[in-house]
C-alpha cells in the first residue's frame, strides 16, 4: 500500500508528469470522442491516428531534433491531410467512405513505418524514442509535453462550450442545420481540426495503434448511462480521467509495465462494464426484463388453467391439485411449482388442503387474461379474416402483451362483444363491469 499512497500524493515528479499528462489527454479525447461517435466518424479517428505517424517522422527529419512542438506540428499537418483526402475521395470517386478510410489509413501508416525505418537506420542519436509513437510511451513525458496537452485541452473545452448548441445540431441533423443558414462546412472543419489536435497529442501516451480506443471507449461507455449530450460529454471526460488515472497507477506498480496499453485496457473494461450493467439498455437489465416477462407469462398461463377448470365446473371457487392442473395445461413440474409459489406469495392463489384455489384478486387476473385471449381471437377473425381454428396460437402470445389502453381500444372496436369465435363467453368480473 506504500506504493499507492506514494502514487496518489504524486510526490514523485516522474509520476506527476505521467498522471497529469494522461489525464489531460484523456479529457480531450473523451470530449472529442463524443462528437466523433455521434457523427459516426469513429473510423476517421483511427485513420487520423495512423496518418500522424509520417508527419512526426518528416518533422523530425527536417528539424533533426525531438522537440514536442515541432513533432506536433508535423502530426497535425498529415492528420489534417488525411481527413481532407478521405473527404475528397468519398466525394470524387465511386469509393464509399469505409473504403476511402481504409485506403488513407494504410497508405499513410505504411509511409510512416517506411520513414521510421529510414530514420532508425540513419543512426541519428536524437532519434531514440521516435518509435515509441507506435504504442506510446507515457513514461517519457516532459514538462513541455504537459503544456502542449494543456493548451489543446483548453482549446477543446473553449470551442465546445462556445458552440455547444451549434455542434449539437450539426451532429444530429446536418441538413436542417444547413437550411437554417448555420455554416455547416466551417463547423465541421473546426471539429475535424480539434479531433486532429487531440489525436496528435494523444499518441504520445497510447500510440498510433491504440489511439482510436482512447477516443471512442469513454464516449461509447457514457452513452449507456445518459440520454443527454451534456451528460454524455461530462461523463465521457470523467471516465477518460478515471481510465488514465487507473492505467497510470497499474503501470506504476510494476517496473516495465506500459502506461498507454494499460489505460486502453482499463477504458475497455469500463466500456464492457457499461454494456453489461447500464440500466434499461444494458445486457443484464435486458435479460432481467425478459425473465420478468417470461415469469409473467408463466403466472398468467397458470391462472388461465384455473379459470378454464373452474369454467368447466361452473364454479371458480374450487381448489385444484398439481395433477389436475397439468392435465389442463401441460408444463414441466418444476416450472409449475415455481409459478404456483410465486402466485401464492403475491396473493393470487390460496394453498389449501384440497389444493390451490383462486383468491379474489387471482380470479380478476385470470379473468383478464382469458378475456384478452378471446378478444384478440375475435379481433383476428373479424378484422383480419383469419379462420377461427387458426387464431388460438396467436392469441396465446398476444394476451400477455395487451395493455389496458389497448384492451379498451379492442372493446370499442369490437363493440363490447359477448362471445368469441369459438362461442365461449368473454368473461368479466364484477369489478370489471364497474369500471
Amino acid at each position: 500500500m506504500n506504493s499507492l499512497s506514494q502514487f496518489l500524493s504524486l510526490s514523485d515528479a516522474n509520476v506527476r508528469y505521467v498522471v497529469i499528462g494522461c489525464v489531460l489527454l484523456g479529457i480531450s479525447s473523451g470530449l472529442m470522442g463524443v462528437y466523433t461517435l455521434l457523427r459516426k466518424r469513429a473510423l476517421i479517428g483511427d485513420a487520423i491516428a495512423h496518418a500522424v505517424l509520417p508527419g512526426i517522422c518528416i518533422a523530425f527529419m527536417l528539424s533533426g531534433v525531438r522537440n514536442t512542438w515541432v513533432l506536433f506540428a508535423g502530426a497535425v499537418v498529415t492528420g489534417s491531410l488525411a481527413v481532407y483526402l478521405v473527404d475528397l475521395i468519398t466525394r470524387r470517386s465511386r469509393l464509399k467512405p469505409d473504403a476511402a478510410i481504409a485506403l488513407v489509413l494504410s497508405v499513410f501508416f505504411g509511409a510512416g513505418i517506411l520513414l521510421l525505418t529510414i530514420i532508425q537506420s540513419s543512426g541519428n542519436a536524437a532519434q531514440s524514442g521516435l518509435d515509441k509513437f507506435l504504442f506510446g510511451k507515457a513514461a517519457a513525458m516532459l514538462p513541455e509535453d504537459l503544456w502542449l496537452f494543456g493548451v489543446v485541452l483548453l482549446l477543446v473545452v473553449l470551442v465546445l462550450l462556445t458552440g455547444y448548441k451549434d455542434f449539437k445540431l450539426l451532429a444530429f441533423d446536418k441538413g436542417y442545420a444547413q437550411s437554417q443558414g448555420i455554416p455547416v462546412k466551417a463547423l465541421e472543419m473546426v471539429l475535424s481540426t480539434l479531433t486532429v489536435l487531440t489525436v496528435a497529442t494523444g499518441i504520445q501516451a497510447v500510440g498510433v495503434v491504440l489511439m482510436s480506443s482512447l477516443l471512442i471507449a469513454p464516449a461509447a461507455a457514457s452513452r449507456y448511462w445518459t440520454h443527454r449530450l451534456s451528460g454524455m460529454l461530462i461523463l465521457s471526460a470523467i471516465l477518460a480521467t478515471l481510465g488514465a488515472y487507473i492505467g497510470a497507477f497499474i503501470s506504476y506498480t510494476k517496473p516495465g509495465m506500459p502506461t498507454g496499453p494499460w489505460i486502453v485496457v482499463v477504458l475497455s473494461c469500463i466500456t464492457l462494464a457499461s454494456m453489461l450493467l447500464a440500466p434499461n439498455q444494458g445486457v443484464i437489465a435486458r435479460y432481467l426484463q425478459r425473465r420478468k416477462h417470461r415469469n409473467k407469462i408463466l403466472q398468467e398461463n397458470i391462472l388461465k388453467a384455473f379459470f378454464h377448470l373452474g369454467e368447466k365446473k361452473n364454479n371458480q371457487a374450487l381448489a385444484f391439485g398439481m395433477e389436475v392442473l397439468r392435465q389442463q395445461r401441460d408444463m414441466p413440474v418444476a416450472r409449475l411449482k415455481s409459478g404456483l409459489r410465486q402466485l401464492v406469495r403475491q396473493g393470487s392463489l390460496l394453498d389449501t388442503n384440497e389444493g390451490y384455489q383462486l383468491t379474489r384478486s387471482g380470479l380478476e387476473a385470470a379473468t383478464r387474461v382469458v378475456r384478452l385471449h378471446r378478444l384478440w381471437e375475435l379481433y383476428l377473425s373479424r378484422h383480419l379474416n383469419i379462420a377461427p381454428d387458426h387464431v388460438h396460437e396467436d392469441a396465446e402470445g398476444i394476451e400477455h402483451l395487451i395493455t389496458p389502453e389497448l384492451e379498451r381500444e379492442l372493446e370499442l372496436l369490437l363493440d363490447s362483444p359477448g362471445i368469441d369465435p369459438h362461442d365461449s363467453q368473454i368473461p368479466y368480473t364484477q369489478k370489471d363491469r364497474n369500471r
Partner: protein, 261 residues
C-alpha cells in the same frame, strides 16, 4: 399545364440538379402563389425530395435559381423552415423532445448565441401545437414514428417562419398523426403561411392540397388542384420516365461531363 402566377412567393427558374453528373431534375420552372398549401407529387425516384432540397440550397445546382419572397434564399433564411425526412437522422441521438424543438430556435438566435427563456416558451408552444408537450422530457429514441414526425414539425414551427418545406411528413405515421398534421397545415395556411409538402399518396392529395406540382424528373404540371389532378396529366406523370431523357442522362454521367458544361 404549368400555370404561372403574379407576385409568386416561390419562383423556381430553369432548375437542373445532377447527381454524379447525371441530371435527376431537368429544367424545372414554376411559380407558387402566396398562402397556398402545395403538394409535390410524383412516383418514386421522381426527384421530389431533390427538388425541395435544391430549393433550400442544400444541393449544388447544375443550372437555374430559386427566389423566395422575390429574394435570394440567403436573405430570407429566417422566414423559411424545413422539415427533413424522418429517416434522415439517427433517433438514438442523446436528446430530449424539448431539445429538438429548441433546435428550431438556433438559426433565429444565430451562431454561438445562447438560447433564451423566450426561445424556451416558443418551443413549448410549438410542442403544444403538435400535442407533444407532455413528452417534452422524453428521450427521442423512445418515441413512435408518428411522435418523431410531430417533434420535427414542432421544431419547424418553433422557427416561426412564413414558408415551410416538408419532406414526406406523412410517411410511416399512424392515422391519428396524419390527421393531426393535416389539421396543423390547414391552420398554418389560415394564418397566411405557404407550405410545400412532398407527398406520395394520390388518393388524399385532392383533399389535402389546393395547389399541386406534378413531377417525374421533369415538371409535368403545376397549378390549382382541380386543373392538375386529371387522368391525362397523372398518366403523363406516372406512365414511366421519358426514356430518351434517362438515356442522355446516363451518357452524360458515363462521360463525366454533365449536361451543362
Amino acid at each position: 399545364m404549368i400555370q404561372h402566377v403574379d407576385n409568386p412567393i416561390i419562383e423556381v427558374h430553369d432548375l437542373t440538379v445532377s447527381y454524379d453528373k447525371k441530371p435527376v431534375l431537368w429544367n424545372v420552372d414554376f411559380t407558387i402563389p402566396a398562402g397556398a398549401l402545395v403538394g409535390i407529387i410524383g412516383p418514386n425516384g421522381a426527384g421530389k425530395s431533390t427538388l425541395i432540397k435544391a430549393m433550400m440550397g442544400l444541393l449544388p445546382l447544375s443550372s437555374g435559381y430559386t427566389e423566395l419572397f422575390g429574394k435570394k434564399l440567403n436573405d430570407v433564411r429566417k422566414r423559411v423552415s424545413y422539415v427533413p425526412q424522418r429517416e434522415s437522422v439517427d433517433w438514438d441521438f442523446p436528446a430530449s423532445v424539448m431539445d429538438i424543438a429548441l433546435m428550431g430556435r438556433y438559426g433565429q438566435r444565430g451562431l454561438f448565441n445562447r438560447i433564451t427563456a423566450e426561445d424556451r416558451s416558443i418551443a413549448r408552444q410549438a410542442l403544444e401545437e403538435v400535442h407533444m408537450l407532455e413528452f417534452a422530457n422524453r428521450q427521442i429514441g423512445q418515441l413512435s414514428g408518428g411522435q418523431q414526425q410531430r417533434v420535427f414539425l414542432a421544431r419547424a414551427l418553433a422557427q416561426q417562419a412564413d414558408l415551410y418545406f416538408m419532406d414526406e411528413p406523412f410517411a410511416g405515421v399512424d392515422a391519428a398523426t396524419e390527421g393531426a398534421i393535416i389539421e396543423l397545415l390547414k391552420e398554418l395556411k389560415s394564418q397566411g403561411k405557404t407550405i410545400l409538402v412532398v407527398h406520395h399518396d394520390l388518393q388524399s392529395a385532392a383533399d389535402y392540397f389546393d395547389w399541386i406540382v406534378l413531377l417525374n424528373t421533369r415538371l409535368v404540371a403545376s397549378g390549382p388542384v382541380k386543373e392538375v389532378l386529371t387522368p391525362t396529366l397523372l398518366q403523363e406523370t406516372y406512365g414511366g420516365k421519358l426514356s430518351l431523357l434517362a438515356q442522355v442522362g446516363d451518357i452524360a454521367s458515363s462521360k463525366g461531363v454533365g449536361t451543362r458544361e
